[in-house]
Symmetry: D2
Subunit: 80 residues, 4 copies
């Protein structure tokens, strides 16, 4: 008996993140995923984008074949 | 950089589960833990107890150095 | 970027195990799988078989899209 | 019953890597660790060092409370 999931080492938003407050966002992805919680992780818009910054995942929720995270930026890369 | 956690193959309640409805419970444990979601998993009161039954974990939440699960029994072992 | 794998809470041999010595076996499975190492885990021939016994996984190897384990029985269920 | 381990998103060598051939190394660490296999992962000498490059982990072995990996650089950062 097995539970399929994906080990993720980066947050790839595909522009689907929702801003919760100034520097905190939530993101829902399909499937069960394991992200590191409480340690710095890179954020990108797509897998081949430049880095948007570095964030800390504060909450990881697995439910109904989806994974939801909330994360807070610790550094944001300016795009200007 | 690493995130310490524990791979769990059984739900050990220590009597701290909270009944949500007839056969559904929630349980909060210290630390980050990985439980299989959506597949049958044995439930015990303590690690050396007899099995209380078999449940399906429906939700797994990692947050603030704790792990919360909700689970629903699919078979319950009578204690009479 | 993600690495797909499967969280396994039971050893399902499908009869493909190779005996290494009296009570120690090796088994190679497709894909990357995470099994608990050093703690008791149930062994079955198929997912719906009766339990063959309980084993301890001593080695877990992920390589070339396969997972190899060696395990040692701590209890074997007689089939007579 | 649980198996403690650490989710790792970076290879931190502490100078203990062993060169196997031109761009392939092995490294043994204490404890059980889960690293992503087959996907790019950053290599550093210490957690606060600059990046030494990016590698692909080809083999992950968990055994006797240690984790051994072999990895191959795909990009190496010059230190000149």
């Amino acid at each position: 008996m097995g539970m399929p999931f994906e080990l993720n080492t980066m947050i790839v938003t595909k522009g689907k993140e929702i801003r919760l407050d100034d520097d905190r966002f939530s993101l829902k992805k399909e499937g069960y995923r394991l992200y590191p919680v409480d340690i710095p992780i890179e954020v990108r818009k797509t897998i081949n984008s430049k880095s948007s910054g570095v964030a800390i995942i504060e909450t990881l929720v697995l439910e109904k074949s989806h994974t939801s995270i909330t994360y807070k930026y610790i550094t944001i890369n300016s795009t200007n």
